[in-house]
Point group: C2
Chain length 209, copies 2
Protein backbone atom coordinates (compact mmCIF):
# COMPACT_ATOMS: atom_id res chain seq x y z
CA UNK A 1 0.00 0.00 0.00
CA UNK A 2 1.10 3.59 -0.69
CA UNK A 3 -0.07 6.86 0.87
CA UNK A 4 0.32 10.09 -1.13
CA UNK A 5 0.73 12.79 1.49
CA UNK A 6 1.82 16.40 1.80
CA UNK A 7 3.43 17.16 5.13
CA UNK A 8 2.31 20.80 5.14
CA UNK A 9 -1.34 20.43 4.03
CA UNK A 10 -4.43 19.90 6.20
CA UNK A 11 -6.42 17.40 4.10
CA UNK A 12 -3.79 14.65 3.95
CA UNK A 13 -3.13 15.22 7.65
CA UNK A 14 -6.65 13.90 8.32
CA UNK A 15 -5.56 10.60 6.78
CA UNK A 16 -2.02 10.70 8.23
CA UNK A 17 -3.42 10.92 11.77
CA UNK A 18 -5.97 8.21 10.95
CA UNK A 19 -3.18 5.86 9.77
CA UNK A 20 -1.14 6.58 12.91
CA UNK A 21 -4.12 6.00 15.23
CA UNK A 22 -4.64 2.63 13.45
CA UNK A 23 -0.95 1.82 14.15
CA UNK A 24 -0.39 1.10 10.47
CA UNK A 25 2.88 1.47 8.62
CA UNK A 26 2.25 2.55 5.07
CA UNK A 27 4.85 3.65 2.55
CA UNK A 28 4.43 7.41 2.18
CA UNK A 29 5.07 9.53 -0.92
CA UNK A 30 5.33 13.30 -0.37
CA UNK A 31 3.64 15.47 -3.00
CA UNK A 32 4.96 19.03 -3.06
CA UNK A 33 1.76 21.08 -3.22
CA UNK A 34 3.61 24.34 -2.61
CA UNK A 35 5.43 23.94 -5.89
CA UNK A 36 2.42 22.65 -7.83
CA UNK A 37 3.48 19.00 -8.06
CA UNK A 38 -0.21 18.01 -7.89
CA UNK A 39 -0.63 19.52 -11.36
CA UNK A 40 2.31 17.60 -12.86
CA UNK A 41 1.64 15.00 -15.53
CA UNK A 42 3.06 12.32 -13.26
CA UNK A 43 0.74 13.11 -10.37
CA UNK A 44 -2.34 13.67 -12.56
CA UNK A 45 -1.80 10.08 -13.75
CA UNK A 46 -2.19 9.03 -10.10
CA UNK A 47 -5.11 11.36 -9.34
CA UNK A 48 -6.77 13.36 -12.14
CA UNK A 49 -8.48 15.41 -9.41
CA UNK A 50 -5.03 16.80 -8.50
CA UNK A 51 -5.48 16.38 -4.74
CA UNK A 52 -3.96 14.50 -1.83
CA UNK A 53 -4.58 12.34 0.14
CA UNK A 54 -4.51 9.28 -2.11
CA UNK A 55 -4.24 5.65 -1.00
CA UNK A 56 -2.98 3.14 -3.57
CA UNK A 57 -3.42 -0.56 -2.79
CA UNK A 58 -0.97 -3.29 -3.77
CA UNK A 59 -3.38 -4.36 -6.51
CA UNK A 60 -3.30 -0.84 -7.95
CA UNK A 61 -6.72 0.44 -6.78
CA UNK A 62 -6.60 4.11 -5.83
CA UNK A 63 -8.82 6.06 -3.44
CA UNK A 64 -8.82 9.77 -4.09
CA UNK A 65 -10.64 11.44 -1.20
CA UNK A 66 -10.19 11.64 2.56
CA UNK A 67 -13.49 9.79 2.94
CA UNK A 68 -12.48 7.10 0.44
CA UNK A 69 -9.04 6.54 1.99
CA UNK A 70 -10.50 6.25 5.48
CA UNK A 71 -13.43 4.02 4.44
CA UNK A 72 -10.90 1.63 2.91
CA UNK A 73 -8.61 1.63 5.95
CA UNK A 74 -11.50 1.24 8.41
CA UNK A 75 -13.00 -1.72 6.52
CA UNK A 76 -9.65 -3.44 5.93
CA UNK A 77 -8.20 -2.70 9.42
CA UNK A 78 -11.23 -2.42 11.72
CA UNK A 79 -9.35 -2.03 15.04
CA UNK A 80 -9.28 0.43 16.65
CA UNK A 81 -12.55 1.66 15.13
CA UNK A 82 -12.19 5.31 14.15
CA UNK A 83 -15.48 5.74 12.28
CA UNK A 84 -17.69 4.52 15.15
CA UNK A 85 -18.27 1.14 16.76
CA UNK A 86 -22.01 0.73 16.16
CA UNK A 87 -24.79 2.24 14.06
CA UNK A 88 -25.35 5.21 16.37
CA UNK A 89 -21.68 6.07 16.71
CA UNK A 90 -21.12 5.65 12.98
CA UNK A 91 -23.90 8.13 12.32
CA UNK A 92 -22.64 10.58 14.94
CA UNK A 93 -19.11 10.46 13.51
CA UNK A 94 -20.47 10.90 9.96
CA UNK A 95 -22.61 13.87 11.07
CA UNK A 96 -19.63 15.60 12.64
CA UNK A 97 -17.31 14.93 9.71
CA UNK A 98 -19.95 16.37 7.35
CA UNK A 99 -20.43 19.49 9.48
CA UNK A 100 -16.68 20.04 9.91
CA UNK A 101 -16.11 19.55 6.19
CA UNK A 102 -18.82 21.96 5.03
CA UNK A 103 -18.74 24.63 7.73
CA UNK A 104 -15.21 24.54 9.09
CA UNK A 105 -12.66 23.14 6.63
CA UNK A 106 -14.30 24.67 3.57
CA UNK A 107 -14.66 27.98 5.42
CA UNK A 108 -10.93 28.21 6.21
CA UNK A 109 -10.06 27.04 2.69
CA UNK A 110 -12.39 29.67 1.21
CA UNK A 111 -10.76 32.38 3.28
CA UNK A 112 -7.23 31.28 2.46
CA UNK A 113 -7.65 30.44 -1.21
CA UNK A 114 -9.59 33.60 -2.00
CA UNK A 115 -7.15 35.96 -0.31
CA UNK A 116 -3.57 34.62 -0.44
CA UNK A 117 -1.45 36.09 -3.22
CA UNK A 118 0.16 32.72 -3.88
CA UNK A 119 -3.29 31.19 -4.49
CA UNK A 120 -4.35 33.44 -7.38
CA UNK A 121 -6.26 31.30 -9.87
CA UNK A 122 -6.35 28.51 -7.28
CA UNK A 123 -9.57 29.42 -5.46
CA UNK A 124 -10.55 25.76 -5.61
CA UNK A 125 -8.49 22.57 -5.57
CA UNK A 126 -8.35 20.50 -8.73
CA UNK A 127 -6.93 20.70 -12.23
CA UNK A 128 -9.08 23.69 -13.28
CA UNK A 129 -8.16 27.28 -12.49
CA UNK A 130 -10.77 29.41 -10.69
CA UNK A 131 -10.35 33.12 -9.93
CA UNK A 132 -10.35 34.43 -6.37
CA UNK A 133 -13.58 35.99 -5.06
CA UNK A 134 -12.69 38.45 -2.26
CA UNK A 135 -16.20 38.34 -0.71
CA UNK A 136 -15.76 34.61 -0.25
CA UNK A 137 -12.57 35.19 1.75
CA UNK A 138 -14.49 37.40 4.18
CA UNK A 139 -17.39 34.98 4.41
CA UNK A 140 -15.04 32.06 5.03
CA UNK A 141 -13.41 33.80 7.97
CA UNK A 142 -16.81 34.59 9.51
CA UNK A 143 -18.04 31.03 9.08
CA UNK A 144 -14.87 29.44 10.50
CA UNK A 145 -15.09 31.72 13.53
CA UNK A 146 -18.70 30.69 14.11
CA UNK A 147 -17.78 27.03 14.12
CA UNK A 148 -15.42 27.24 17.10
CA UNK A 149 -18.19 27.78 19.72
CA UNK A 150 -20.18 24.95 18.10
CA UNK A 151 -17.25 22.62 18.67
CA UNK A 152 -16.85 23.90 22.22
CA UNK A 153 -20.53 23.13 22.91
CA UNK A 154 -20.22 19.64 21.41
CA UNK A 155 -17.33 18.94 23.84
CA UNK A 156 -19.25 19.94 26.98
CA UNK A 157 -18.72 17.20 29.56
CA UNK A 158 -17.01 14.95 27.01
CA UNK A 159 -13.43 13.78 26.57
CA UNK A 160 -13.98 13.08 22.86
CA UNK A 161 -16.63 14.20 20.38
CA UNK A 162 -18.22 10.73 20.03
CA UNK A 163 -18.12 7.79 22.46
CA UNK A 164 -15.26 7.12 24.88
CA UNK A 165 -12.32 7.09 22.49
CA UNK A 166 -10.85 9.22 19.73
CA UNK A 167 -12.58 9.00 16.35
CA UNK A 168 -12.12 10.59 12.95
CA UNK A 169 -14.45 13.37 14.16
CA UNK A 170 -11.79 14.41 16.70
CA UNK A 171 -9.09 14.15 14.04
CA UNK A 172 -10.99 16.41 11.67
CA UNK A 173 -11.95 18.92 14.35
CA UNK A 174 -8.33 19.05 15.53
CA UNK A 175 -6.94 19.52 12.01
CA UNK A 176 -9.54 22.27 11.43
CA UNK A 177 -8.46 24.14 14.59
CA UNK A 178 -4.81 23.87 13.52
CA UNK A 179 -5.69 24.91 9.96
CA UNK A 180 -7.63 27.93 11.22
CA UNK A 181 -4.35 29.38 12.50
CA UNK A 182 -3.35 29.80 8.85
CA UNK A 183 -5.96 32.56 8.70
CA UNK A 184 -4.95 33.80 12.19
CA UNK A 185 -8.14 32.62 13.84
CA UNK A 186 -7.25 31.81 17.42
CA UNK A 187 -9.40 29.83 19.85
CA UNK A 188 -10.98 32.38 22.26
CA UNK A 189 -9.93 31.74 25.88
CA UNK A 190 -13.62 31.47 26.84
CA UNK A 191 -13.95 28.20 24.87
CA UNK A 192 -12.51 26.11 27.69
CA UNK A 193 -13.82 22.72 26.54
CA UNK A 194 -12.21 23.24 23.17
CA UNK A 195 -8.89 24.34 24.71
CA UNK A 196 -8.79 21.34 27.09
CA UNK A 197 -9.63 18.84 24.32
CA UNK A 198 -7.18 20.47 21.90
CA UNK A 199 -4.30 20.08 24.40
CA UNK A 200 -5.21 16.40 24.89
CA UNK A 201 -5.35 15.63 21.16
CA UNK A 202 -2.14 17.60 20.49
CA UNK A 203 -0.32 15.36 22.99
CA UNK A 204 -1.06 12.20 21.01
CA UNK A 205 1.82 10.87 18.89
CA UNK A 206 -0.44 10.94 15.79
CA UNK A 207 -0.75 14.73 16.08
CA UNK A 208 3.00 15.23 15.94
CA UNK A 209 3.50 13.52 12.60
CA UNK B 1 -38.01 5.90 13.67
CA UNK B 2 -38.90 9.21 11.98
CA UNK B 3 -37.57 10.77 8.76
CA UNK B 4 -37.75 14.56 8.35
CA UNK B 5 -38.04 15.10 4.62
CA UNK B 6 -38.93 17.80 2.14
CA UNK B 7 -40.57 16.45 -1.00
CA UNK B 8 -39.25 19.24 -3.22
CA UNK B 9 -35.60 19.42 -2.06
CA UNK B 10 -32.59 17.49 -3.39
CA UNK B 11 -30.71 16.70 -0.15
CA UNK B 12 -33.50 14.78 1.61
CA UNK B 13 -34.18 13.00 -1.68
CA UNK B 14 -30.76 11.36 -1.32
CA UNK B 15 -32.00 9.76 1.90
CA UNK B 16 -35.57 9.15 0.64
CA UNK B 17 -34.22 7.07 -2.27
CA UNK B 18 -31.80 5.29 0.10
CA UNK B 19 -34.70 4.32 2.41
CA UNK B 20 -36.76 3.08 -0.54
CA UNK B 21 -33.86 1.03 -1.95
CA UNK B 22 -33.48 -0.56 1.53
CA UNK B 23 -37.23 -1.42 1.40
CA UNK B 24 -37.77 0.32 4.75
CA UNK B 25 -40.98 1.92 5.90
CA UNK B 26 -40.21 4.93 8.07
CA UNK B 27 -42.70 7.50 9.33
CA UNK B 28 -42.06 10.65 7.31
CA UNK B 29 -42.52 14.25 8.43
CA UNK B 30 -42.58 16.90 5.68
CA UNK B 31 -40.71 20.12 6.44
CA UNK B 32 -41.83 23.04 4.27
CA UNK B 33 -38.52 24.56 3.20
CA UNK B 34 -40.19 26.85 0.65
CA UNK B 35 -41.96 28.67 3.46
CA UNK B 36 -38.99 28.67 5.84
CA UNK B 37 -40.26 26.02 8.26
CA UNK B 38 -36.63 24.92 8.81
CA UNK B 39 -36.06 28.23 10.62
CA UNK B 40 -39.07 27.81 12.95
CA UNK B 41 -38.49 27.37 16.66
CA UNK B 42 -40.12 23.93 16.50
CA UNK B 43 -37.79 22.64 13.77
CA UNK B 44 -34.65 24.25 15.20
CA UNK B 45 -35.37 22.20 18.34
CA UNK B 46 -35.11 19.10 16.11
CA UNK B 47 -32.08 20.30 14.13
CA UNK B 48 -30.25 23.50 15.14
CA UNK B 49 -28.49 23.32 11.77
CA UNK B 50 -31.88 24.04 10.12
CA UNK B 51 -31.53 21.40 7.43
CA UNK B 52 -33.20 18.22 6.26
CA UNK B 53 -32.75 15.26 6.05
CA UNK B 54 -32.94 14.25 9.72
CA UNK B 55 -33.45 10.73 11.07
CA UNK B 56 -34.79 10.39 14.61
CA UNK B 57 -34.58 6.99 16.28
CA UNK B 58 -37.16 5.58 18.69
CA UNK B 59 -34.75 6.29 21.55
CA UNK B 60 -34.60 9.96 20.50
CA UNK B 61 -31.15 10.05 18.88
CA UNK B 62 -31.08 12.35 15.87
CA UNK B 63 -28.80 12.29 12.82
CA UNK B 64 -28.58 15.61 11.05
CA UNK B 65 -26.74 15.05 7.79
CA UNK B 66 -27.23 12.93 4.68
CA UNK B 67 -24.05 11.04 5.59
CA UNK B 68 -25.15 10.52 9.20
CA UNK B 69 -28.66 9.32 8.26
CA UNK B 70 -27.29 6.88 5.71
CA UNK B 71 -24.47 5.60 7.94
CA UNK B 72 -27.10 4.78 10.58
CA UNK B 73 -29.45 3.05 8.13
CA UNK B 74 -26.63 1.06 6.49
CA UNK B 75 -25.26 -0.19 9.83
CA UNK B 76 -28.70 -0.99 11.29
CA UNK B 77 -30.17 -2.47 8.06
CA UNK B 78 -27.17 -3.82 6.12
CA UNK B 79 -29.09 -5.43 3.23
CA UNK B 80 -29.05 -4.50 0.44
CA UNK B 81 -25.69 -2.80 0.95
CA UNK B 82 -25.82 0.70 -0.54
CA UNK B 83 -22.46 2.00 0.75
CA UNK B 84 -20.37 -0.84 -0.73
CA UNK B 85 -20.04 -4.52 0.10
CA UNK B 86 -16.30 -4.70 0.90
CA UNK B 87 -13.40 -2.37 1.68
CA UNK B 88 -12.72 -1.49 -1.95
CA UNK B 89 -16.35 -0.83 -2.82
CA UNK B 90 -16.87 1.17 0.37
CA UNK B 91 -13.94 3.38 -0.58
CA UNK B 92 -15.11 3.77 -4.19
CA UNK B 93 -18.60 4.75 -3.05
CA UNK B 94 -17.17 7.20 -0.50
CA UNK B 95 -14.88 8.72 -3.16
CA UNK B 96 -17.78 9.29 -5.52
CA UNK B 97 -20.09 10.70 -2.85
CA UNK B 98 -17.33 13.13 -1.82
CA UNK B 99 -16.70 14.24 -5.40
CA UNK B 100 -20.43 14.62 -6.16
CA UNK B 101 -20.95 16.57 -2.93
CA UNK B 102 -18.08 19.02 -3.45
CA UNK B 103 -18.06 19.45 -7.22
CA UNK B 104 -21.63 18.75 -8.31
CA UNK B 105 -24.19 19.32 -5.56
CA UNK B 106 -22.42 22.30 -4.06
CA UNK B 107 -21.91 23.73 -7.54
CA UNK B 108 -25.63 23.66 -8.38
CA UNK B 109 -26.50 24.96 -4.90
CA UNK B 110 -23.99 27.80 -5.31
CA UNK B 111 -25.51 28.75 -8.64
CA UNK B 112 -29.08 28.59 -7.39
CA UNK B 113 -28.64 30.16 -3.96
CA UNK B 114 -26.51 33.01 -5.26
CA UNK B 115 -28.85 33.98 -8.10
CA UNK B 116 -32.50 33.19 -7.24
CA UNK B 117 -34.47 36.18 -5.99
CA UNK B 118 -36.26 34.04 -3.42
CA UNK B 119 -32.87 33.02 -1.96
CA UNK B 120 -31.65 36.50 -1.03
CA UNK B 121 -29.82 36.26 2.29
CA UNK B 122 -29.94 32.45 1.97
CA UNK B 123 -26.69 31.87 0.04
CA UNK B 124 -25.92 29.01 2.44
CA UNK B 125 -28.16 26.59 4.32
CA UNK B 126 -28.36 26.92 8.09
CA UNK B 127 -29.68 29.32 10.71
CA UNK B 128 -27.36 32.19 9.72
CA UNK B 129 -28.09 34.58 6.88
CA UNK B 130 -25.41 35.00 4.20
CA UNK B 131 -25.64 37.47 1.30
CA UNK B 132 -25.63 36.31 -2.30
CA UNK B 133 -22.34 36.55 -4.25
CA UNK B 134 -23.15 36.81 -7.98
CA UNK B 135 -19.67 35.57 -9.06
CA UNK B 136 -20.34 32.39 -7.14
CA UNK B 137 -23.52 31.78 -9.13
CA UNK B 138 -21.52 31.92 -12.37
CA UNK B 139 -18.77 29.72 -11.01
CA UNK B 140 -21.30 27.17 -9.74
CA UNK B 141 -22.88 26.81 -13.16
CA UNK B 142 -19.46 26.31 -14.79
CA UNK B 143 -18.44 23.69 -12.25
CA UNK B 144 -21.72 21.76 -12.44
CA UNK B 145 -21.43 21.67 -16.23
CA UNK B 146 -17.88 20.31 -15.99
CA UNK B 147 -19.00 17.47 -13.75
CA UNK B 148 -21.41 15.94 -16.28
CA UNK B 149 -18.67 14.61 -18.63
CA UNK B 150 -16.82 13.25 -15.58
CA UNK B 151 -19.89 11.23 -14.63
CA UNK B 152 -20.27 10.08 -18.24
CA UNK B 153 -16.66 8.85 -18.25
CA UNK B 154 -17.14 7.04 -14.92
CA UNK B 155 -20.11 5.16 -16.44
CA UNK B 156 -18.21 3.91 -19.51
CA UNK B 157 -18.94 0.19 -19.87
CA UNK B 158 -20.72 0.08 -16.51
CA UNK B 159 -24.36 -0.34 -15.50
CA UNK B 160 -23.77 1.35 -12.15
CA UNK B 161 -21.00 3.60 -10.81
CA UNK B 162 -19.61 1.00 -8.37
CA UNK B 163 -19.93 -2.79 -8.49
CA UNK B 164 -22.86 -4.64 -10.04
CA UNK B 165 -25.75 -3.04 -8.20
CA UNK B 166 -27.06 0.42 -7.37
CA UNK B 167 -25.27 2.23 -4.53
CA UNK B 168 -25.57 5.59 -2.82
CA UNK B 169 -23.12 6.90 -5.43
CA UNK B 170 -25.76 6.31 -8.14
CA UNK B 171 -28.42 7.89 -5.94
CA UNK B 172 -26.34 11.03 -5.42
CA UNK B 173 -25.31 11.27 -9.05
CA UNK B 174 -28.93 10.88 -10.14
CA UNK B 175 -30.23 13.49 -7.68
CA UNK B 176 -27.46 15.85 -8.86
CA UNK B 177 -28.49 15.44 -12.52
CA UNK B 178 -32.13 16.11 -11.59
CA UNK B 179 -31.11 19.07 -9.41
CA UNK B 180 -29.04 20.54 -12.23
CA UNK B 181 -32.26 21.07 -14.20
CA UNK B 182 -33.17 23.72 -11.60
CA UNK B 183 -30.40 25.82 -13.13
CA UNK B 184 -31.40 24.70 -16.66
CA UNK B 185 -28.32 22.59 -17.17
CA UNK B 186 -29.31 19.80 -19.52
CA UNK B 187 -27.33 16.64 -20.19
CA UNK B 188 -25.65 17.05 -23.61
CA UNK B 189 -26.80 14.40 -26.09
CA UNK B 190 -23.16 13.38 -26.61
CA UNK B 191 -22.98 12.00 -23.05
CA UNK B 192 -24.59 8.71 -24.02
CA UNK B 193 -23.45 6.68 -20.99
CA UNK B 194 -24.97 9.24 -18.67
CA UNK B 195 -28.25 9.35 -20.62
CA UNK B 196 -28.55 5.54 -20.66
CA UNK B 197 -27.81 5.23 -16.92
CA UNK B 198 -30.13 8.12 -16.06
CA UNK B 199 -33.05 6.46 -17.84
CA UNK B 200 -32.38 3.21 -15.97
CA UNK B 201 -32.19 4.88 -12.53
CA UNK B 202 -35.28 7.02 -13.28
CA UNK B 203 -37.28 3.84 -13.92
CA UNK B 204 -36.68 2.52 -10.38
CA UNK B 205 -39.60 2.93 -7.97
CA UNK B 206 -37.27 4.77 -5.52
CA UNK B 207 -36.74 7.55 -8.08
CA UNK B 208 -40.46 8.25 -8.34
CA UNK B 209 -40.97 8.99 -4.64
Amino acid sequence: MKFYDCQTAPSPRRVRMFIAEKHLNIETVQVDLRNGEQLSEAFLAVNPRATVPVIETDSGARFLSTAGCRAYLEASHPEPALLGRDATERAEVADLIAAIEADAFMAVAECLRNSAKGMRGRALTGPQSYAQIPELAERGRTRAGRFLPELNAALEGREFLVGETLTAADIDAFVFVEFSQWIKLDVPATLTNLARWRTAVAARPSAGL
